[in-house]
Amino acid sequence: MKKILSIMLCAALTGTTVFALAGCSGGGEKKQDKGEVNIYNWTDYVSRGEYDLMDVIDEFEKETGIKVNYTTYETNEEMYNMLKQSNSSYDVICPSEYMVSKLIRENMLLELNYDNIPNYANLSERFKKLSCDPDSKYTVCYDWGVTAMVYNTKMVKNKPTDWDALWDESLKGNILMFNNSRDAMAVAMQQLGINPATCTKEDVDKATEKLKEQKPLVKKYVMDQVFNEMQNNQSALAAYYAGDIAMMMEENEDLDYCLPASGSNLFYDAMCIPTSSKNKENAEAFINFMQKPEIAAENFKYLRYGTPNQKAIELLDKEYTENELSFPSDEYLDKCYVFSDIDDEVYAYMQEKFVEVQAN
């Protein structure tokens, strides 16, 4: 009897799951007449209704009747390998500048029809003709930011002013470094007076030595773990992305930031349509929707990386727009370099050398 009962319970549980799943896919079918759009974006990159913000994907579906299939990736390389090696078709992707160059070089992007993206006019001039797409044929900039440092004022005595703080002996065992070859190597190169945007293999070797020198001082190489480490006073100093630093500072008032005096990396991600796209017009509608001022403003509030959308900035409160971390001054941006086109071989070498730093 007991057995029969448990079998029935199991069956009931499985049944509910199947129905729930069926319910999910069934729900979207109502508006299928307008077709669908397959978005392949960074994890946590658009506002999905958390923190009392708007769920922009929901809003897009409601307004246009186009069904959104949303999938995410964690790194540019993951996205690239997926495009290159799988048969899945995506309509919108959001690669970073160096990946845009690579995709254009390998003919993996479709030219956009800007007539379908009237909101492109809302973008500020600086972010219209991106260095990776100088003629503006393939891209609509989604967000941008710089790398910077965050430190705990109770643990760091001398206020950091430049990247050399990451090599400060007195902070031994309290420093967090990028767990990502490009950003870590770039910081080391700046220390050595090399322009990371035009680096060669020899420069990578030099940067590798510099990072090996730093390793005994480093507590950990981190990416997302930096939030826990800094917000809970576990570490003194970290290099990370400025928009995220603004978020950390809201959680812990002992934190302060430093935009390195010698400049830093200006990065941006741009929405593009890959050649595998089967719904190009819907993709353009999505890209256009994302540049509506009120939508871009919601996404900004969620993300805190600078928005290129001038009209959206006008909608934002001063506390946001005056924050140097989200919107560094033009003078500062002029000091920054952009990784618009790293040679594949140099980049692979960088990655290999960075693993070597960590492995030995």
Binding site: E77, K215, K219, K220, Y221, Q234, Q351, E352, V355, A359
Partner: protein
């Protein structure tokens, strides 16, 4: 004949999801960046010997600690009433209902500076760092994989015929002699599958070391992950070497025990 037909779906499954991927890894491992045949990926892979050794060492240490903890527990379990057995098995299983990453996060918070452990020990006048070292990684592994050691040993042990134990006792064996001469030899299949189930995943994981370890605790899984970003060949070569190492380990284990125990 009938049994052969029934096995067809499994054979197809294994062919598609096990054999073909392994062959693809094998092919990729012998290519250079231009797609030509080359041994370069293996030359590069051997540059990570130190990481290989460290990973295997951490896995071995975790497996041994699991075994030392799990064996007495499994033995005690077999001596208990059915109802207590069920309760303890349940308690072992419950943490596994939670996401792996969440459990590691919990350890991170427990061990961190000014965390519960640090605060408690500071009250006793003991100050130290409990996270960011190899010890923390081993602790995390032991925590994650202990149930995989306890359950197979317990299953095998509970099937030992009580008559054999009584016979040994009748012939004058004391408790320790019974354990050494009857229970332990008969429980070896369980021990071997336990070791396999702990050693194999702990040698190839990297999440635990990424969250609980420091800069020196990089594991081979982490190297494979990073190298794969830009260089699939070297990544495949490292994976292949790791598979061979694990295979050799399993064969060695096999020499000590029953063939059927190998998972």
């Amino acid at each position: 004949m009938k049994s052969k037909k029934l096995s067809i779906p499994y054979i197809i499954w294994m062919l598609v999801f096990t054999m073909i991927p392994i062959v693809m890894i094998g092919i990729t491992a012998f290519k250079d960046s231009h797609g030509n045949f080359s041994l370069e990926p293996f030359m590069k892979a051997f540059g990570y010997t130190g990481v290989f050794l460290k990973s295997l060492w951490i896995a071995l240490l975790s497996t041994l600690i699991c075994l030392v903890l799990a064996y007495p527990l499994a033995y005690l379990l077999t001596r208990m009433k059915k109802s207590s057995q069920n309760t303890i098995q349940m308690l072992l299983m419950i943490p596994m209902w939670m996401n792996f990453l969440l459990r590691i996060y919990a350890w991170m918070i427990l061990l961190q500076k000014n965390g519960p452990l640090d605060t408690a020990l500071s009250l006793l006048g003991i100050h130290g760092t409990y996270i960011g070292n190899t010890g923390a990684v081993v602790l995390g592994m032991v925590y994650e994989y202990l149930p995989f050691m306890v359950l197979p040993i317990f299953t095998v042990m509970s099937k030992i015929d009580g008559g054999l134990i009584e016979a040994a006792q009748d012939l004058g064996s004391n408790g320790f002699a019974v354990l050494r001469k009857v229970i332990f030899p008969l429980s070896i299949p369980g021990v071997i599958s336990g070791i396999t189930m702990v050693f194999v995943p702990s040698a190839s994981t990297f999440l635990v070391s990424q969250y609980l370890g420091g800069t020196d605790d990089i594991m081979i899984g982490d190297v494979i992950d990073k190298i794969f970003w830009t260089d699939q060949s070297t990544g495949s070569a490292i994976s292949l070497i790791l598979m061979i190492l694990i295979f050799v380990f399993l064969v060695l284990m096999n020499l000590f025990g029953d063939e059927e125990a190998i998972a």
